[in-house]
Symmetry: C2
Subunit: 395 residues, 2 copies
């Protein structure tokens, strides 16, 4: 196990009817809040009204900044920062999924400095302060509600970049699974796919394989992402399914899975970010295309690791069939990749570029875009050739 | 899943050569520290000197309070409180295992009030403030380094009582697995047993079985406690073994396993506390006696839950043999209990009262003692008859 620091100070308030505590939790952090949200769905669902009532009761004044969208945009963040400065906001409230929370985090960091917020993302400036952030989660997926990361897309440069800092952990996150009853089947599946991708990145790229504590945790999270997603697709109002999917997605990227693994990379996200930046595909949909392709490439580097995952995931009869007297990691790795791909298809998440309407001819362009992030994230082994090779396996 | 709040603010600094950061981490919290430790072992190992040097370099003044022992005593806590008040200490540093850390927590809570500290344990007073606590862990076992609990024995009343409060989370805990290289085989095993017991209490007494996220996490922790303990017994200087055991024991009782389970009980600890209070047996040694006995009793209440654990723990061939076409939870539960008992024996942790030199005639007396804690912990279903029944199964 590699040395690590684990310090996750986010307070999670989880369960039914927890949203009404947003007022008192926010009031403890500031009196003037900016409410960040996405499109109109929180208004039609009644969540907006519930949050506003609770804030009003707690005496919190609210400035609104709606309109955050999937793959959140830098321009929208910049507008939020200008508004937050002008209105002298002292706390952010994000009501939404990862995109909304990331927007709020970027505003929280950008409102306390004079320079442009994008400088944080390209490594030109470092965060020294940030406004506190409270979240009300509406989608089990990104894990942003309990971590210090954020991902923003710069439309001008067509860059979707991610970045993290310990001051960006939300102070409080309210997770009510009932809020996600209305998430449609496609986004329910994309959320589960996202959680699985977060786990897989750590699992596959760990610098240190003598980390069975983390491996067992991660295998359990993938099993649960699948099982709970399936429950939600059968019955969108299955509380247990929604609750287990939500908590799984949160734990999938709250720092625990990676603690002790040493240096890890996010190569699948790197390639998916290029897809999202260029074609604005839903993040989860892009990931379910990239993951099997990346794994197909990776099995030639480390079939044993993929096989280990397979031992945890595959049905017993498949394991018996494959393992036999001689251990065959490559065969088991292939079955594991097939198993994952089949599951993505089962929940109607795309598994080929074609399903995303992305033509094969675009592969060099996608690879070039991904390369920009490879440099920022220091994924030096990912040459244009390798990225193109991986993308060819996603066709 | 039941509603829960999860908020664990402890900063974990884990890995090789992390002890020298105790000075700077402590200095950020206070200038006058009380160093709490146990017997002479930290002096012979050089750890004491390392800690003192780091504190001196950081300009922290130190008052010492050594002599904490396994099953830490209220009198020793009271002496520490008197000294801390007199010396106007503003931060506690615990260098040791759970007993030392619990002693430091009790001093941290007791130093800021005028009444006797025991009132917290018997529910007569509640904690409203506490001095900050820093820990340097020397034993993988109790998990106190990342939780808000403490257990203290009142010699006068022969009560070993536990109690927790959110203000008692250590601010910083330094976990260097190399520090545990010198832990002898018996205490290495007792530590693993303690971690397993912590997991089992939650696993078995959960109010809500629709918590597969937590179940998979817990099953992984038990597997890892066993596997890493065995590595440490083969080679006490196996860094990976020590590291995985240490992190497992920390995660086994940091709040994550229980979040969402609803009301849980600690019935095995309740009975073990009676053994420790009356006979001063090592906590882990007492637990490995109580666990199989309690499970034998519990299998008549809920064999399915024990069987579920067995599916995660038992070797594949045992599972095949037992499961067959008809699912037989009772048979599987019995095999699971046998498996756990055999493992405790394998690592030389006792599995019968006789091995602890406790005569069968004492069972009524032990049951009476346990009953006191049953009342405080509100384990109302545990009548004297039931406790005696369980103890009979530990003979």
């Amino acid at each position: 196990m590699q040395n690590f620091v684990f310090h996750n100070p986010t307070k999670i308030i989880f369960g039914r009817k927890t949203v009404p505590s947003v007022g008192s939790e926010t009031a403890a952090l500031g009196q003037k809040a900016m409410l960040v949200y996405g499109q109109s769905s929180i208004k039609t669902s009644g969540l907006y009204e519930q949050v506003m009532n609770s804030l009003a009761e707690a005496g919190v004044t609210v400035v609104e900044h709606g309109g955050a969208r999937s793959n959140p945009l830098l321009d929208h963040v910049r507008q939020g920062i200008a508004k937050a400065k002008q209105e002298k906001v002292d706390v952010l409230i994000a009501v939404g999924g990862g995109s909304v929370i990331d927007t709020a985090k970027a505003i929280a960091a950008g409102s306390v400095v004079e320079h442009d917020v994008w400088k944080f993302f390209i490594g030109k400036k470092s965060i020294k302060a940030a406004l506190p952030v409270v979240t009300v989660l509406t989608l089990a997926a990104a894990g942003s509600e309990m971590n210090s990361g954020m991902v923003i897309t710069n439309q001008e440069t067509q860059e979707k970049f991610g970045f993290g800092h310990r001051l960006l952990y939300p102070k409080v996150s309210l997770l009510d699974p009932e809020v996600t009853f209305t998430v449609p089947p496609d986004y329910t599946a994309y959320g589960a796919v996202d959680a699985i991708a977060h786990v897989l990145e750590f699992y596959m790229t760990t610098e240190d394989a003598d980390t069975p504590v983390q491996a067992r945790l991660m295998e359990g999270l993938i099993q649960n992402a699948m099982a709970s997603c399936e429950r939600c697709l059968v019955d969108p109002r299955d509380y247990g399914g929604r609750a287990n999917l939500m908590w799984t997605a949160t734990l999938a990227l709250n720092g625990l899975t990676g603690a002790g693994l040493g240096r890890v990379g996010f190569p699948m996200h790197m390639i998916e970010h290029a897809l999202s930046a260029l074609y604005d595909v839903p993040h989860g949909a892009g990931l379910s295309v990239v993951m099997p392709g990346w794994l197909q490439w990776y099995k030639e580097q480390d079939a044993a690791r993929i096989a280990q995952l397979g031992r945890a995931l595959l049905p017993l009869n498949t394991l018996e069939e494959i393992q036999g007297p001689q251990r065959n990691d490559l065969a088991l790795a292939e079955r594991t990749i097939d198993f994952l791909r089949a599951w993505f298809s089962k929940v109607n998440s795309p598994v080929t570029l074609a399903e995303l309407d992305i033509p094969t001819e675009d592969i060099p362009r996608i690879a070039d875009n991904a390369l920009g992030l490879a440099k920022v994230w220091r994924l030096d082994q990912y040459t244009p050739e390798i990225i193109r090779d991986i993308l060819q396996r996603c066709v």
